[in-house]
Amino acid sequence: MNLTLKVWRQKNSDTPGKFVEYNADDISPDMSFLEMLDIVNEGLIKRGEDPIAFDHDCREGICGTCGMMINGVAHGPLGATTTCQLHMRHFKDGQVLTIEPWRARPFPVIRDLVVDRGAFDRVIQAGGFVSARTGGSPDGNAVPIPKPDADLAMDAAACIGCGACVAACKNASAMLFVAAKVSHLNILPQGKAEKDRRTLNMVRAMDEEGFGNCTVMGSCEAVCPKEISLDFISRMNRDYLGALWRSKQ
């Protein structure tokens, strides 16, 4: 199949970017979206043009490195899928595809489709951990964890930190990402001791990074490759309110 791509090209964070049109010819439906871009890049190099820069690594949907807006949708048209796991059979011959980087002020563009998601790491630094030093931990079975709690914590922990939630949100809110981490740790008994501190500090860090507010439209949940539920946002709001109230006491 043959496709027309309109790709965002931007030399670096200081230079304005623009859309450039490319043809992607003889694309096999068995290719992944990134393999299609590989082919386009090989052609560009042969013609002496700079290849399109994009982030990717594991190419099996778990590392969270890849991500781009495909026709305005984070990670493209297929639900519960990262860009690397999206295959070309979901597109039609002759289709025009607009490909952009994540668009959010806290994720500045580094080059072309590559953005800086360092803000996520800094939010984790504010409290996305259990302060358990290595060594001296009690036996793994010392504290039983009810299976439903363990399963719910796992649902939240499945987040791969790709940033699609932020990119999909009209306010560039990071609530789904932060709520997933806060919930994962707050649900487990090991995370309870630092629950209030964690919630308050991570929400503060999120605001300081410039992520917008949540208006519960659910775009984040719709594009999340790991189908993280909006419920975690409600849960974090509840934890936040409780923590705020207790901190005022």
Binding site: K11, S28, D30, M31, S32, L34, E35, D38, I39, E42, I45, K46, D50, P51, D55, H56, D57, C58, R59, E60, I62, C63, G64, T65, Q85, H87, R89, I110, R111, V114, R117, G118, F120, D121, Q125, G128, F129, V130, A132, T134, G135, S137, G140, N141, V143, P144, I145, P146, K147, A150, D151, A153, M154, A157, A158, I160, G161, H184, Q190, G191
Partner: protein, 637 residues
């Protein structure tokens, strides 16, 4: 060459506790005077960086990814072994030790493997304390599953994402230390060389992948936790960024490279669909419990699988290995698939695939049972291939996915270069000639949380190293070399892309030194690799500049190192004139196709010393001494 594994004396079960009591300590106030560089942020690197920082050392951690959370440990699915014996099924530290030694086909070091089994129990405790959401029983206690090569249930797991959850545990501990100012993190920064001063590892030279700036970092010790080299085959289950560069640079500075030919091939991966293929995806081996493996009896039979009647099908595993059938061991299944495809009977595009058919299982047990057992795997298969494996058989083919070889280390995980430590998949130490499932995660975390934090103190207390300034002439000289190399890549402006060269090298390595190897093929590869390498340096085309984000330039550096490393791998495979574990020399097999070891001649670790790119490396041998276990023929029948 001085070559001492420094294995403590005494019975194997007491070596580690004895050693911990014997080695010197650094007092808490002095720890902050020592700087440690950790390269890599996977399970081994992140756990080491976090733990060293908690102890008080000043740590700098480097990774080429945009965040330490992306390291390829994240992709491990199955689980992590630990000798907890929670199932009351007879497990013990000794059994985990023995299974690992046996699984490695008696080519690993006893003392290291015993220690690994010993600390495995602490790993689970540590991870639970960090909030890793392991699977639980309704009692609230930890759940286990069984895995290949073991007769007990000792594998802990978190859905199909155990690697991700363990890595997030280590990453969160690391981020906590970064936030507290104990670790300085350098993401999107690639180590391009190691700096030695008076024979000790004193720092690294790195390239900032965003700005292109080349700079030096000095320290009192350098820790490499940079993963495996499976991408030398181009197609593997490794992440695209996985590379050999850090350990190869260390090798070229004098570190010994051990057993590079021990590379593991996994039998159940989704096959290649065409030239565009960029990587391969693993499917859980558990599918072989209900799936039957077959190919058409005659080459060139292009009928759809459901139009081929049973009498025209060759269920070759059941035919050749009636006792084990479709559950024949990994290496045997992999080689058998290669054989039928070599005969022209492979299926699917390109003819490199075999059917894994669930028709009979569905007829016997019903669709719902099969869906319940393997639903997520069928879904993953459909996502990638667009095929419904409930209707038509899956197609599978073996792929490279783990490398047991790596830099040589002693019992303290220090290489032969003082002050250079190597952890996780990057070292050679624990898995011998073949790694058991669910043991890679265990080793990475054992090294980082529980071994290095003890042993590195001994080096500091004994040597009292002095951190040099990055203005030292050695740093300047290495920086200049790195800059020169970068310039060279950009100046060639040839006719072929880096990917084309990598693909050609990978195909050569896979054909001649993949699942099965023989003398003629290996010698042929030794002719072709230097020629390809020369062509690479004359005809590669790397566009753009050095002072910007330039992914082609990064890639060119990694492939250039694979071009050299591949030759060493083949040399090692040619030298090891026996079959053991994943290293299968066709000349050495039993009548039923099993690997035939030669303990008389090859019961040693092959550690290679660099002499120059176009010169033969020197082979050093570390004899493997077995006090605890008896060398036996590995049999799973």
């Amino acid at each position: 060459m001085k070559f001492d594994a420094k294995i403590p004396s005494g019975p194997v079960a007491q070596k580690w506790s004895k050693h911990r009591n014997d080695i010197k300590l650094v007092n808490p106030a002095n720890k902050r005077k020592f700087d440690v560089i950790v390269v890599g942020s996977g399970l081994a690197g992140a756990s080491a960086a976090a733990t060293l920082s908690e102890l008080g050392y000043k740590v700098k951690c480097f990774c080429f990814q945009d965040s330490p959370r992306r390291a390829h440990s994240i992709a491990a699915q199955g689980g992590i072994n630990a000798a907890k014996n929670y199932q009351n099924d007879g497990d013990s530290v000794y059994r985990l030790f023995y299974d690992t030694i046996k699984g490695g086909d008696f080519r690993s070091r006893e003392a290291n493997v015993y220690r690994l089994a010993e600390v495995s129990v602490n790993i689970i405790d540590q991870c639970v304390a960090q909030g890793v959401p392991f699977a639980r029983e309704y009692s609230g206690y930890l759940a286990n599953r069984s895995f290949g090569g073991a007769q007990v249930s000792r594998t802990f797991y978190a859905r199909g994402q155990t690697g991700q959850q363990l890595l997030l545990g280590a990453y969160q501990a690391l981020e906590k230390q970064i936030g507290a100012g104990g670790v300085k993190m350098y993401p999107r920064t690639e180590m391009l060389d190691l700096v030695l001063i008076s024979g000790h590892a004193k720092g690294i030279v790195v390239r900032d992948l965003v700005t292109g700036e080349i700079s030096s970092h000095a320290a009192d010790a350098v820790v490499l936790a940079t993963g495996g080299y499976g991408n030398v085959f181009f197609l593997s289950t490794n992440a695209k960024g996985c590379n050999v560069t850090a350990i190869w640079r260390a090798y070229k500075r004098g570190a010994l490279m051990a057993n590079p030919c021990f590379t593991q091939i996994h039998p159940t991966c989704i096959p290649v669909t065409g030239e565009h293929q960029s990587k391969l995806t693993l499917m859980s081996e558990s599918l072989r419990n209900d799936g039957r493996v077959w190919v058409p009896k005659t080459a060139g039979d292009h009928r759809a699988p459901d139009e081929i009647p049973d009498e025209d099908r060759d269920y070759y595993l059941e035919r050749k290995y009636p006792a084990y059938g479709n559950l024949a061991p990994r290496d045997i299944s992999s080689r058998a698939a290669k054989e039928v495809c070599d005969e022209g009977r492979g299926v699917g595009p390109g003819g490199r695939g075999v059917y894994l058919d669930f028709r009979d299982a569905i007829n016997r047990a019903g669709l719902n049972v099969i869906r319940e057992r393997y639903g997520n795997l069928f879904e993953m298969y459909e996502r990638i291939t667009g095929e419904d494996a409930y209707r038509a058989p899956m197609r599978i083919y073996p792929a490279s996915h783990y490398t047991m070889g790596g830099l040589w280390v002693d019992y303290n995980l220090m290489s032969n270069i003082p002050g250079l430590y190597v952890l996780g998949e990057a070292n050679f130490s624990d898995h011998g000639a073949n790694r058991l499932g669910a043991s890679a995660l265990m080793q990475g975390l054992a090294d980082g949380y529980f071994v290095l934090p003890y042993t590195i103190g001994d080096y500091f207390a004994t040597e009292r190293p002095q951190k040099p300034s990055v203005d030292h002439p050695e740093f300047k000289a290495v920086e200049a070399e790195v800059a020169e190399r970068t310039k060279k890549f950009l100046s060639i402006k040839g006719g072929r892309t880096v990917t084309e060269f990598h693909r050609e090298l990978g195909k050569l390595m896979w054909d001649k030194c993949g699942m099965a190897r023989n003398e003629a093929g290996l010698k042929d590869a030794l002719e072709k690799i230097p020629a390809l390498r020369q062509e690479f340096w004359e005809d590669v085309n790397v566009l753009g500049e050095g002072n910007e984000l330039n992914q082609s330039l990064e890639y060119a550096g990694r492939v250039a190192d694979f071009m050299e490393f591949g030759e060493l791998l083949v040399n090692d495979a040619l030298m090891r004139d026996e079959s053991c574990g994943a290293h299968f020399r066709e000349e050495h097999q039993t009548s039923d196709g099993e690997a035939k070891r030669d303990d008389e001649k090859f019961s040693y670790v092959a550690a290679w010393e660099y002499q120059g790119t176009d010169k033969s490396p020197i082979l050093h041998k570390e004899d493997l001494v077995y006090d605890e276990v008896h060398l036996a023929t590995r049999s799973y029948k």
